[in-house]
Amino acid sequence: MSAIVEIQGIEKKYPGVVANHNVNLAIKKGEIHAIIGENGAGKSTLMKILYGMVMPDSGTILVDGKKVIFKSPQDSIALGIGMVHQHFMLADNASVLENVILGSEPTSFGGVIQVDAARAKLIEITKNYGLDINPDQLVAELGVGERQRVEIAKVLYRGAQILILDEPTAVLVPQEVDELFRNLKDLTSHGLTIIFISHKLDEVLSIADDISVMRAGTTVASVIPSKTNKKELAELMVGRELPKRREVSTKPGLEKILEIKDATYVTPDHREILHGVSLEVHSGEILGVAGVEGNGQSELIEMIMGLVKASSGNVSIMGHDISDSSSREIRDSGVGYIPQDRQRDGLLMSAPLWENRILGHQATAPMANGFWLNKAAAKKDSERIVVDLDVRTPSINVMAAALSGGNQQKFIVGREMADKPSLLIAAQPTRGVDVGAQALIWNQLIEARLAGMAILLISADLDELFNLSDRLAVISGGKIVAVLDPDKTTPEQLGLAMTGEKIA
C-alpha cells in the first residue's frame, strides 16, 4: 500500500524552543498509525502542522502524493484531514446535531439551515460507523465517551478520510477505551486512516498497525507492534536505558512522622467514607496506599491536609495533634502535598510559573517577607526547579497552562519538595505523565526518602507502588484491610486485597 500522507523534513521553531526538527513520517491508507513520544517531544506541534493550525518553517507535506500547503484548518479539512481534539470543542448548551454541523451547515436560500437533511446525513454516518449518539440530545447531558463520539462524528461529517486523534484515551475510563478502539477498527475497515497520538505504550501496542516514535522534536524510529515491546518503546522514547527503580534500600528510621489513630469520616449527608483508619509513616519511609479508586483515598488525603475534619479519631504529625488545625498550619508545620488533580488543586493555570512557586508557601520565608511576598526569591527558586527537575519551558514567566502535563507535574514536585518537608503526601504523582517524567519523579521521591523524608504515596499504578513503597497499606471500603511487605507480595495478592479479599 502506498502512503496517503507523507511528511518530509518538517522544521518548526518557536522563540527559544525547537518544536520540530527534521520530522519524517509515512502513513499508509487504512491503517492506525500511532505517534508516541514524551510530553514535549513535538507530537502536538506536528499534528497542528498537519491540521493547518500551525505553518511549518520548512519541509513538505504530501497528501495522496501531491504536495500541499495548509494555511488554516479549512485547507486540511478540504483535503479530508480531520482532528479530534484532546480537549473537546463542544458547546454544552446546544444539541449534538448543532455541534456537528457548525461551520458546514447545509442551507437553502437565505441561510436557512436544512435541519432534516443535516440530521439524515448525521444518522447515516452514525449507523455506518457504529457511533452510538442521538442527534437531538443536548451535549450537556452526554458523558465523556459520548462527547468523544460527537467529536469523531463532527470530523466524519466533513468527509474526513484521515483522522488525527490527540491522546484520545486520556479522559476515558477502561470500558470507554474499549468502545473507542472498536469504533476505530470499524473506521479503518471502511478505508479510513487514523493517526493516533499517545504516550500510553500498552494501548499503542494493542491498537496500532504502525508506530512512529518522536523524541526531542524529531522522529527517531518507526516500528511495528509485533516486533517490539514496551521496554524497547520506552527506551526509544526517552533515548536512554530506564533507570533502575529500586537502586538503594536502607532501613527506614523509627521516628513516627505521621500517625493516624482510629480516624472516621462521615460526610454531611451521613455517608461513612472512612471507618477507623489507623496508619503510621516513619521518617525515611515510603508508605504506599493501594486501593481501587473511590474507596476513601481522597478523603484520607483531605483529612491529613485539613481540608475535611475527621468525625472521630485523630491525626498527628510529629507528635502534634493536627485534627483541628487549618491547612495552612499543617503545611507550615512541614508538610508537602502533591495533589491528585494538578490542574485543579495544584496550579493556577493562568498565572506565571514563578507565581505558582509561591502557592502554598505564601505565608512563610523565603517566599514571604513579613507582609510582603518575596518576588525575587520566588523567581530564583523557580529557576532552580526548572533546572533541577528538567521542566521544559521557554521561561519561568510563561503561564502554567502553557506547559505540558508532565512538565506541570515536575514543577509541582519541585515546589513541594523545595522546603524539605518532613512529610510528603504524594497523590497519584505520575498520573498521565510520560515515562521520562515518571522516572524523574520516582528518583526524586526515592532520594527524598533516603534523606529521611516520610512519604505517603497514594497511587492507582501498581508498578509505582511496588517499586517505591517500603510498606503497602491496602484501603478498601474506607478501611485499611491489610498492610503488606512489597517484597513478599505478588501483584495478584495485592489485587485480591484491594477487592477486599482476605489474604491467607
Binding site: 488554516s72 470543542m89 458547546a91 457548525l102 461551520g103 436557512v112 452510538d132
Partner: protein, 416 residues
C-alpha cells in the same frame, strides 16, 4: 442504551405537544381569576382595552432593550451600554422625525444604534476593553452627546436644551369590525367573556404601526437565531468561541454583527419612546429602561419569547401605576390567588420547598393587601425587579445563560 435514548426522545415529543395546551389553560385560569377579582373589588380597569393598549406601549421599549441585550449576550458579550444606545435612539429618532417624518426617524435610529453597537463591539472585541467599562462609557457618552446636540440643533428649531420640538407619530391601525365588536362585548359586563374581549380590544384598537412592526421582531429573532446558519454561528460564539473558530467561524465578525443588531434594537426602543409614547424627545426619557432590558434577558432565560414575557410583566406594572393606582391594590389580590393555586399545584407535585416559599410570599402580599389600602408607587416600580429576583432564586438551576457570556475571546493570530 438505545431504549433510554428512545425514552428521552419520546418525552421531548410529548412535551412539545403538551405545551400549547398548558399555556392556553394557564391563560384561561389567569383570566378567570382576574375576572373574579374585578367583580369583587370593582377595579374595572384591570381588563379594560385602555390598560392592555397602555401595557403594550410600555412593553415595547423594554422589549426592544431586552432583545438588544439578548442578541449581544447570545454572542457572548454583555451590553451594559443598552441604556446609552436607547438614549441615542430617542434623540436620533426625534431629530430625523422632525426633519423627515416618523418612519425616517425610526430608520435613522436603527442605523445610528447599529453604529453605536458596532463601536461597543470594536472596543470590547477587538481592543479588549472590559465589557462593563465600555458599556458604562457609552451610557455616559450618549447622555452628554444628546445634551450637546440638543443645544446645537433643537434650540434653533424651537426646542430646548433637554426637549426636542414636537414630532409627528406614525399612523394607527384599528381593525374595522373586530375592534368595535370586542368593545361592545366588553361593555356588556358578562363575566370572563367581557374581560377577555376588553383585553383583546386593546390589541386591535388604535394600535401604532410601529408597535406591530416591532412586535414581529420577537418571532423573527427566534427564527434567525435557531433556524439560520448566521444564528447558529452567533450562538456558538457565546457558547464556545474556540470550537466555533476551529470550524471556520469568524468570531470577531460575528460578534460585531451581533452588537450592531443589539444596538439597533435598543435604539429602536428609544425611538419608540420619543416617537410613539410621547411625540417629543425629553432628556432622561429612557429612565433606566436599558438596564431593565438586561433584567428581562435573565427573566426570559435568554429566549426572545421569555424576554417578551418579562417585558410584559414590567410593562403591565408601569401601565397600572400610571392609569389607576387603585387597580394595583386589586392586582395584589390576583397575585395572592394565583400564588395560592400555584402552592396547591406544587404540593400535588411534591415540590414542598417551592410551595413553602411561594406560600410565604403570597401570605406577605395578602397581608399588604389587607393592611395597606393604597400601594406606594415605589413598591409598584420595584415589583417586577422582585419578580426577577424570585425567578433567579427559584429557577436558577434551569436558567441557561450562554456558557462563555462576558468572557473575552482572542482570535488566533495568523499562522501561530
Amino acid at each position: 442504551m438505545s431504549a433510554l435514548l428512545n425514552n428521552v426522545m419520546k418525552n421531548k415529543v410529548v412535551r412539545k405537544f403538551a405545551s400549547p395546551w398548558r399555556l392556553a389553560l394557564l391563560v384561561a385560569l389567569v383570566l378567570i381569576v382576574i375576572s373574579v377579582v374585578r367583580r369583587i373589588t370593582g377595579a374595572n380597569d384591570l381588563t379594560s382595552a385602555g390598560l392592555s393598549s397602555a401595557t403594550l406601549r410600555f412593553t415595547i421599549p423594554l422589549l426592544m432593550a431586552g432583545l438588544g441585550g439578548l442578541w449581544a449576550e447570545r454572542a457572548g458579550v454583555i451590553n451594559i451600554g443598552l441604556e446609552g444606545m436607547m438614549i441615542a435612539g430617542t434623540w436620533i429618532g426625534a431629530w430625523f422625525a422632525f426633519l423627515h417624518g416618523p418612519w425616517i426617524g425610526f430608520l435613522a435610529a436603527a442605523i445610528g444604534g447599529a453604529l453605536v453597537g458596532l463601536f461597543h463591539g470594536i472596543l470590547v472585541v477587538k481592543i479588549g476593553i472590559d465589557q462593563a467599562v465600555s458599556g458604562l462609557a457609552i451610557n455616559l457618552l450618549a447622555l452628554g452627546a444628546a445634551r450637546y446636540l440638543s443645544g446645537v440643533l433643537f434650540i434653533p428649531n424651537g426646542g430646548d436644551i433637554s426637549v426636542s420640538p414636537m414630532v409627528q407619530q406614525p399612523g394607527y391601525l384599528t381593525v374595522p369590525g373586530i375592534s368595535s365588536w370586542l368593545l361592545s362585548i366588553n361593555g356588556k359586563n358578562i363575566i370572563i367573556l367581557s374581560d377577555a374581549a376588553g383585553v383583546l380590544a386593546g390589541f386591535v384598537t388604535e394600535i401604532s404601526w410601529a408597535t406591530i412592526f416591532l412586535l414581529i421582531t420577537v418571532p423573527l429573532s427566534t427564527w434567525i437565531l435557531w433556524r439560520t446558519r448566521f444564528g447558529l454561528r452567533l450562538r456558538f460564539c457565546g457558547e464556545n468561541p474556540i470550537a466555533a473558530e476551529s470550524l471556520g467561524v469568524k468570531v470577531y465578525r460575528t460578534r460585531y454583527m451581533a452588537l450592531a443588531i443589539s444596538g439597533m434594537f435598543a435604539s429602536l426602543g428609544g425611538a419608540y419612546l420619543s416617537l410613539v409614547a410621547s411625540q417629543v424627545y425629553r432628556e432622561g426619557q429612557t429612565a433606566g429602561r436599558g438596564f431593565i432590558g438586561l433584567a428581562t434577558v435573565i427573566f426570559g432565560n435568554w429566549r426572545p419569547s421569555g424576554v417578551l414575557a418579562g417585558s410584559v410583566l414590567f410593562g403591565l406594572t408601569d401601565a397600572l401605576r400610571v392609569r389607576q393606582p387603585t387597580s394595583i391594590h386589586a392586582a395584589l389580590l390576583v397575585i395572592v390567588i394565583l400564588g395560592a393555586l400555584f402552592v396547591i399545584w406544587s404540593i400535588t407535585r411534591g415540590r414542598m420547598k417551592t410551595a413553602s416559599i411561594t406560600a410565604a410570599a403570597a401570605l406577605f402580599i395578602g397581608f399588604i393587601y389587607i393592611k395597606v389600602p393604597i400601594i406606594p408607587n415605589e413598591f409598584v416600580t420595584f415589583f417586577p425587579n422582585l419578580a426577577t429576583i424570585l425567578v433567579l432564586v427559584l429557577l436558577a438551576q434551569k436558567l441557561k445563560p450562554p456558557a462563555m457570556l462576558a468572557v473575552p475571546y482572542r482570535e488566533r493570530e495568523e499562522g501561530h
